[in-house]
Symmetry: C2
């Protein structure tokens, strides 16, 4: 079992995703600043994992607060929360986790500072454990969409490494395998950061799930050849109408899927849904530094002076999405209704 | 002016495209085996440039033939031609150039071996010069399709480096610039070999044509944002019905162009048209070694043991192609008629 991120002895431990697949090393963060740095530099990435990292990081930050008076504690706690909220703009789960921690903070106002810190640590650990459980539930719901013998295409890494464990899109694939289905996975390498080649290929190889690596530009040819039965990807933020932000390149796959009549599925926990965003165009899209595209391992691959455009995500309009797999069930169009129903189901237990 | 490949003092000189954009170095081949190696290892690439390399390489091979008797000369010459024909399977221009050299060989049967070698060298130089001239003619025809202020997307390298000079798709862009049109070019990096990042970005930077580099997976998002006015790419082989094989990822761009109502143009010399192939499915698609995808600069980017699928080309069906720009004019659907007409126009002068 791959342990992506967890709380251990007043520290946040995470697998170093920048070192994969060449090295399997773990980073132990004893100060919340180290967790912030790990989110920023992609040591931990994937929307649900970023949410978990923020929750655990905020708990770690709370432990460091020295102020004994409630007002000072509050000021320091909110400052730490804002620092985490400023790391990456697109992943909804990040803001969801920050809000969960703030809520627990408010609820624990009557406790002593020491007890309050314990409550915040307990909340963060619960967020971590619930994410893992949500993925397994997603797998149980989603596996019905995969038939024995299917060939599946996935993009980026929506696996154990993108979550507290098990994965969203890869969780559904794992669940189908666990019930004995034969399947084959084509993995988009996912430029520029190569999460597919480095992380998804590593997860699938580790578990002996038959897989083949391709460049992002080869997916269309495979669909044209009739070699892809379905596509499953994760999500970084889902608008109320079902429009979904995910790793750059996802929209292209959705258009190709439509052109070839191939089902296109999103797998994501309900914490990915942004109830404050009506449609995809309102989702903020992170642009990252050009060197991710123009350099590799410190070697320039493009001439000096060339401009680079490097959006980390794109938005797939809901009309391209066959279904959204969540831990509370599978939503289909109209998503405005189906997603609200699943969110309500979760809120009421 | 970029000189991609030329004949100089009984040698074939070519810019080393593997060293670009970091170094601008030239390789001087004094034996035809060196030219074969250069085609195989992508020191020279791009369908028209491969054709020119083969013609010049065969001429170089002819110079080395020691046999004085016509039958021995013929055997050696044909063996050299077969060696070149076996380098890369998709580029039509390679086979076209080999046939041109065989034709000149047959026509020169009455000459002494020394004169015959001269005739073959002269033919190869003519093929090289005509390719360059064809690109300029393509530019004059194609530039009318570009409006002042347009933003153009291109894929791979269909520039001076892919030809004897000036370029096919980039030739049309150069011609539009030369008549004073303002334009901006988005360059797909073109995984796995990064011809866009390494070569097209280098050509455009060198000539101060405004350009922005993106990963292949970002093109769809740009089209969705309404930021692309037209797409121009080259071709490796065109079937009689207009179906076009080009660098892997081209088909995806064509599907995206259709989805967004964006014109999708092919620019290629008539030597790219395969009169023996009725439709795209009959075009042989080269598969290259997996290390192109799973390694970079000798560093593995994917885990050991992962399978790789690495087709170098895909086929875009003619129904996605708005027009095919050639040196004899612009072909539109039905291509079966329009391409035949242009080929006939060329044959008769």
């Amino acid at each position: 079992m791959i342990r992506t991120i967890y709380w251990d002895n007043n520290a946040v431990v995470m697998i170093d995703q920048k070192a994969l697949p060449l090295q399997e090393t773990y980073l132990t963060c004893k100060h919340y600043e180290e967790v912030i740095k790990a989110i920023n530099d992609l040591t931990v990435r994937g929307a649900p994992a970023i949410g978990v990292a923020a929750a655990l990081g905020i708990a770690l930050g709370a432990l460091c607060i020295e102020s004994g008076d409630p007002e000072g504690f509050r000021t320091d706690f909110y400052r730490i929360c804002e620092r985490f909220a400023a790391t990456r703009p697109t992943a909804r789960n990040l803001f969801w986790a920050v809000e969960k921690m703030k809520k627990r903070f408010a609820e624990s106002a009557s406790l002593s500072p020491a007890r309050r810190k314990e409550a915040l640590v307990a909340e963060a650990i619960r967020i971590c454990e619930e994410d893992s459980a949500a993925n397994r539930a997603m797998g149980r719901h989603g596996r019905s969409l995969i038939k024995n013998g299917d060939t599946i295409l996935t993009h980026c890494n929506a696996g154990a490494l993108a979550t507290a464990g098990y994965g969203t899109a890869l969780g559904v694939i794992r669940a189908a395998r666990e019930e004995g289905k034969e399947l084959h996975v084509f993995v988009d390498e996912t430029r520029p950061v190569l999460q597919g080649a480095r992380l998804t290929a590593w997860e699938l190889t580790k578990e002996n799930i038959p897989a083949t690596l391709i460049t992002d530009s080869m997916a269309g040819s495979l669909m044209q050849q009739g070699r892809i039965n379905l596509i499953i990807v994760g999500a970084d933020r889902i608008a109320l109408n079902g429009d979904t932000a995910n790793k750059i390149g996802t929209y292209t796959l959705a258009v190709l899927a439509k052109e070839h009549g191939i089902p296109f599925y999103i797998a994501a926990p309900l914490s990915t849904i942004d109830l404050s965003v009506q449609e995809g165009r309102a989702i903020p899209i992170e642009e990252r530094e050009g060197e991710e595209v123009s350099c590799y391992h410190g070697v320039r691959t493009a001439p000096a002076g060339i401009k680079v455009y490097n959006p980390a995500f794109d938005v797939t309009p809901h009309r391209y999405i066959t279904a959204i797999i969540t831990e509370k069930g599978i939503a289909t169009a109209p998503y405005g209704e189906s997603l609200q129903r699943l969110v309500a189901a979760q809120a009421f237990g």
